[in-house]
């Protein structure tokens, strides 16, 4: 699903590469944690997957597309197949839960009828059926993140990218979010989650890829956060 081959990314006006000779292969349906300290290259990795940046060298394949040769006007096609969730939720404050999720479908050209059917379904999946008409400001952090996940998942992308999705949440709430991501993963979606949260990584026992200064220093099938040796 995601294949990095000897990928190096050096940002303009810097000498040190943010990612250096990284090769990673994530299969369809996998759940992968991406761990490492700030500045280790996690965000660069995610930006490359979303084609917000281009690799300086090496090749990247995402959902069957070679991102090196993908033309700009085809990037939206790629992003339709990659759902994204962020630490700061990125919800639209003036829109209700329903409208926030519907926004994604509107943008993709779904009809009102489809939207009226699909949105309540996905909102129920994330456990917010009762709060369809609330605005983000009236929801807790965990609930807001559920809305963000619903929005990312409503178009059934093949890949879900989550950048520190529990970074702003307390441990109890985080567990709920992880259960939700796990459930989405079980339905066949490949999930890549960047995180600092060691307890979550330790509990989930999924594949862990650890980055340090742009290098992959660990790729472990059933890893824990603090593993060093």
């Amino acid at each position: 699903m995601i294949r990095f081959e000897h990928v190096t990314k050096t940002y303009a006006k810097t000498d040190k590469p943010a990612l250096s000779d990284v090769s990673i292969d994530v299969a369809k349906g996998e759940f992968v944690f991406l761990v490492g300290q700030s500045g280790s290259g996690k965000s660069t990795f995610l930006r490359l997957v979303l084609r917000e940046e281009k690799a300086s060298s090496g090749t990247i394949h995402v959902a069957g597309k070679d991102l090196g040769t993908l033309s700009n006007w085809k990037v939206p096609e790629l992003r339709k197949q990659v759902g994204t969730v962020f630490q700061d939720f990125r919800l639209l404050p003036n829109k209700t839960v329903f409208e926030n999720v519907a926004f994604a479908l509107h943008v993709l050209g779904h009809t009102k009828k489809e939207i009226a059917r699909e949105v309540p379904e996905i909102v129920e999946l994330v456990g917010l059926a009762e709060k369809l008409n609330r605005r983000p400001g009236e929801l807790s952090g965990g609930e807001q993140q559920r809305v963000a996940i619903a929005r990312a998942y409503v178009s059934r992308p093949a890949i879900l990218i989550a950048d520190e999705p529990t970074g702003n949440l307390d441990p109890g709430t985080s567990i709920g979010i992880m259960k939700l991501l796990d459930r989405i993963n079980r339905e066949g979606t490949t999930v890549v989650m960047a995180t600092h949260d060691s307890s979550i990584v330790d509990q989930m026992r999924k594949r862990v890829i650890e980055l340090e200064s742009g290098h992959v220093i660990r790729d472990q099938v059933r890893g824990v956060y603090g593993y060093t040796g």
């Binding site: 979303l50 700009n72 006007w73 990037v75 939206p76 096609e77 790629l78 992003r79 339709k80 197949q81 759902g83 994204t84 990125r90 639209l92 404050p93 926004f103 994604a104 509107h106 943008v107 993709l108 050209g109 009809t111 009102k112 929005r151 990312a152 178009s155």
Partner: protein
């Protein structure tokens, strides 16, 4: 994206930024009006030229007892010379009509024109020259007549009335050009204002555009609502400017035309043509300003 969704986004954008929208509409209206006034001045100058060129003549004054030009050295024009000149004139292809004005007719006309002046009493019939009044098919073909008759025995002076009007028209042309320059400068101002407004709008809605980008909207569908907002403002502004030009036309017909009877004025047709150009200008300028701004500030 569906049209209904795009329209609702446009509506939200315009309302959220109501004062800026208002400013853009007013600026577009004023700048297009100024440009429209420039275009109408152009029509007006053209109308006046048509009106006057249609009335002007080439005068061929014949030698009289007081003529001093070399071609009059043989004394006043003879009857044969006069006849010959008339025949030659009528044979010239550029000539439309020829009218002979005798000394007594010239005297009558003179008396009429200067009837309140002391000069009228001091002029006698034989002091005024007889002449041919020639109307040309195309008033710019004066040189043909001049080269054929100037210096010919019996012809004193060949005079083109157009030369007098030209000075007047060159003044009007300067005024017209000034109006067009002011109009274009203000259209440029409007373009810059549209560009800045869209930049602010893009900044205000960066959450929405970020989300649109993330879920896989094409850059076109992200930019479209902004583009339509710019166009909307331009079209409303254009509507107002057309209203202003129509108002101007009413004022001209109602107040100015009765006072200035020596010319025609631009027609309603000129107003509609100018309005069509303004619509084109408004749409193209706002489109250009929008696309350039959005390409810079809404990178996908």
């Amino acid at each position: 994206m569906r049209a209904g969704f795009v329209m609702s986004e446009v509506g939200i954008g315009l309302r959220r930024n109501l004062t800026m929208t208002f400013a853009v509409v007013i600026t577009v209206a004023i700048s297009l009006s100024l440009l429209g006034i420039g275009l109408l001045s152009n029509s007006q100058v053209r109308t006046m030229k048509d009106y006057w060129y249609d009335k002007i003549e080439v005068s061929i004054f014949l030698c009289g007892p007081l003529s001093e030009t070399p071609s009059c050295a043989g004394g006043p024009v003879t009857a044969e010379q006069r006849l010959e000149i008339q025949q030659d004139l009528q044979e010239l292809p550029v000539v439309q009509t020829v009218y002979y004005e005798s000394q007594s007719e010239a005297y009558q006309r003179f008396q009429e024109r200067f009837k309140d002046s002391a000069i009228a009493q001091n002029v006698t019939v034989d002091q005024l020259p007889e002449s041919f009044r020639v109307k040309l098919k195309d008033p710019t073909e004066f040189a043909v007549v001049e080269s054929a008759f100037s210096g010919r025995p019996g012809v004193d002076v060949v005079q083109d009335q157009r030369a007098i009007l030209e000075k007047f028209f060159s003044l009007l042309n300067v005024l017209r050009d000034g109006a067009l320059v002011i109009g274009l400068a203000s259209v440029l101002t409007a373009a810059l204002l549209i560009s800045n407004t869209l930049r602010i709008a893009a900044y205000n809605r960066r959450r929405e555009t970020t989300v649109m980008k993330l879920v896989g909207a094409s850059s076109f569908s992200i930019q479209l609502p902004f583009l339509l907002e710019g166009l909307f403002a331009a079209i409303v502004g254009w509507g107002i400017s057309t209203g202003i030009l129509s108002g101007l036309k009413f004022v001209v017909d109602d107040r100015i035309a009765p006072l200035l009877t020596f010319t025609n004025f631009f027609t309603w047709n000129d107003v509609w043509v100018a309005s069509a150009y303004l619509l084109l200008t408004g749409v193209v300028v706002s489109g250009f300003a929008s696309v350039l701004t959005l390409r810079k500030y809404l990178k996908v």
